[in-house]
C-alpha cells in the first residue's frame, strides 16, 4: 500500500523545523516514530502534503529527572522508557504501562510524545498522563507554551497543538516515596489495542490518607477518560478495599464502551471495574512500601 505523494523535509536544527512549521504548518504532519502516522497514510486516512521528519533534530531523545518531574523528549521511543531505570524509580504508572504499548518492534520506533500528539482514544500513554498528571511543552517561532495534559487534549485525535507548533517534551509528575501507580491492560494479543486499559496513581499524606488520586481509562470512551468523580471520592479518604470498590463502581458507570470484536460493552464495563479496583490496590501496595 502506498500513501499519496508528499514532500519530505528532514531539518537538522529545531530552529529550522520551527521555521518550516511557521511557514507551512497547516500542510504538514510531523513524523517522529511514524508507527501510527505511516499506517494511516498507507490506508489513505491521512494525506498530508508534506512530512516534517524530526528524527534528525538534536536534544530530543533523552529522559531526564529534573525539577520534580520526569522529562520525556519528543524522540524518546517506548522501548527507551521500558528499559529506563530513571523511570522505574520515578513514576510507577509510566513504568508499568511502557511494556504494554504495542509490540517490541513497534516500541523501537514509536514515541511517547507522538502518541500523545496523535491522541488515539485507544492509546495507552494518554491515560497514563491523565492519571499521574503531566505537562506538555510546545514550541513555535512565537515561543514556548506549557500546557497541563488536561488542557492539551481536546477530543479524540484532537489536541491544542497549533499547526506551527512542535511538541518537544512531556513533563510527567514523579511519585514520591509515598506514591504508587499501575497500568492494567487487557489485550487479545501482543500489539493489539487495549480491549480495556486502566491507569491509576496514588499519593499518600503523612497520616496515610490519600493526598492525590488519578484514574484514567483507555478504549472505553470516545477519548481517554479521566474519572474525576472517583478521584474526588478518593482524595482525603483513608485507602481501603471498600473505598476502592466504590471508586471502581464509579469508573464502570462513567465509561461508555462499544460492542465490538474485542468484547461486548457489558464485558468491558465489568473489566473497567475489576481493573480499577486491582490497579488502586497495587498502587497502594507500592505507596505503602510493599514494592519490590
Amino acid at each position: 500500500m502506498y500513501p499519496s505523494k508528499f514532500d519530505y523535509l528532514a531539518p537538522t536544527t529545531i530552529d529550522e523545523a520551527l521555521g518550516v512549521l511557521a511557514e507551512k504548518g497547516p500542510e504538514i504532519k510531523i513524523l517522529a516514530g511514524g508507527q501510527s502516522l505511516v499506517p494511516m497514510m498507507k490506508l489513505r486516512l491521512a494525506n498530508p502534503p508534506a512530512l516534517l521528519d524530526i528524527n534528525r533534530l538534536p536534544g530530543l531523545d533523552s529522559i531526564e529527572d529534573s525539577n520534580g518531574h520526569l522529562s520525556i523528549g519528543a524522540l524518546v521511543r517506548h522501548n527507551h522508557v521500558v528499559k529506563s531505570d530513571a523511570v522505574k524509580d520515578a513514576n510507577h504508572t509510566v513504568a508499568t504501562a511502557a511494556p504494554w504499548v504495542s509490540d517490541p518492534i513497534v516500541r523501537n520506533l514509536g514515541t511517547v510524545c507522538g502518541s500523545l500528539a496523535h491522541h488515539d482514544p485507544e492509546g495507552d500513554w494518554a491515560s497514563v498522563m491523565l492519571a499521574t498528571g503531566a505537562d506538555v511543552v510546545l514550541r513555535s517561532r512565537q515561543g514556548e507554551r506549557v500546557l497541563p495534559i488536561t488542557d492539551f487534549f481536546v477530543d479524540m485525535f484532537q489536541t491544542m497543538c497549533r499547526p506551527d507548533e512542535l511538541v518537544t517534551e512531556v513533563r510527567v509528575n514523579k511519585h514520591t516515596a509515598r506514591g504508587g501507580g499501575d497500568y492494567q491492560k487487557l489485550e487479545r494479543k501482543v500489539g493489539d489495542y487495549a480491549t480495556v486499559g486502566v491507569a491509576t496513581s496514588l499519593e499518600l499524606a503523612d497520616d496515610g490518607s490519600i493526598a492525590h488520586a488519578g484514574i484514567a481509562l483507555t478504549s472505553v470512551y470516545a477519548h481517554n477518560l479521566k474519572v474525576t468523580e472517583a478521584e474526588d471520592l478518593l482524595r482525603g479518604s483513608q485507602p481501603g478495599t471498600e473505598l476502592f470498590k466504590e471508586a471502581a463502581v464509579i469508573a464502570s458507570a462513567a465509561c461508555d464502551p462499544a460492542d465490538d470484536h474485542r468484547g461486548s460493552a457489558a464485558y468491558k464495563r465489568h473489566v473497567v471495574g475489576v481493573f480499577t479496583e486491582r490497579g488502586l490496590a497495587r498502587s497502594l501496595e507500592i505507596a505503602q512500601g510493599g514494592q519490590s
Binding site: 502506498y2 511514524g34 518492534i105 520506533l109 500489539g191
Partner: protein
C-alpha cells in the same frame, strides 16, 4: 530524492520517491528479496530489518528515513561465507516450516542475543512477540534461539 544506505556492509545509493517504503526499497530497488512483505499493516513483523542494529518493521518506515543509516537484512547475517550462529541454529533445530517469517525471526534473535547473550525462554518469547509465524512453529523458533545462545557462549569460552 537521493538515499544512501549502508546495507549489509555495502554502500548503495538510489533516487527514490519519498513515499517508497523501506521494504520495497530493499526488495525492489536493491534486489534483496530475503526481506518479506506480509500484512503491510505493522502487525506481522515479517518485514523486520535491523536499522542501526535495532529491529524495525520496514513496511512502516519510508526509505528516505534510512538515509545515511545502516541496515542489516537476512542476506547480511552470513559472515565470511559461514552461516551465523543463529542461522546454524535455525537449521539444526528446524526453526522453520514454510520459511516466510524466518528472516525476521533470525534478525530479531540476532538483535536479542547482542543485547542479552543468555536470554530466558520468557525473554525470547517476549522478544519475538511482535513477529507472527503463520505455521505456528514457535516451539522450534524458541529452541533455535536458545541453541544459538549456547553456540555463541561456547564460541566465547573456546
Amino acid at each position: 530524492m537521493n538515499v544512501t544506505v549502508n546495507i549489509n556492509g555495502a554502500e548503495r545509493t538510489a533516487d527514490v520517491e519519498p513515499r517508497l517504503l523501506l521494504t520495497d526499497f530493499i526488495r525492489g530497488t536493491l534486489g534483496l528479496t530475503g526481506t518479506h512483505m506480509g500484512c503491510d499493516t505493522t502487525s506481522c513483523g515479517v518485514c523486520t530489518v535491523l536499522l542501526d542494529g535495532v529491529p524495525v518493521k520496514s513496511c512502516t518506515v519510508f526509505a528516505v528515513q534510512a538515509n545515511g543509516r545502516s541496515i542489516t537484512t537476512v542476506e547480511g547475517l552470513k559472515q565470511n561465507g559461514q552461516l551465523s550462529p543463529i542461522q546454524q541454529a535455525f537449521h539444526q533445530e528446524h526453526g522453520l516450516q514454510c520459511g516466510f517469517c524466518t528472516p525476521a525471526m533470525m534478525l530479531v534473535g540476532t538483535a536479542l542475543l547482542e543485547e542479552n547473550p543468555n536470554p530466558s525462554e520468557d525473554e525470547i518469547r517476549w522478544a519475538i512477540s511482535g513477529n507472527l509465524c503463520r505455521c505456528t512453529g514457535y516451539m522450534n523458533i524458541v529452541k533455535s534461539i536458545q541453541a544459538a545462545a549456547a553456540m555463541k557462549s561456547e564460541e566465547v569460552s573456546a
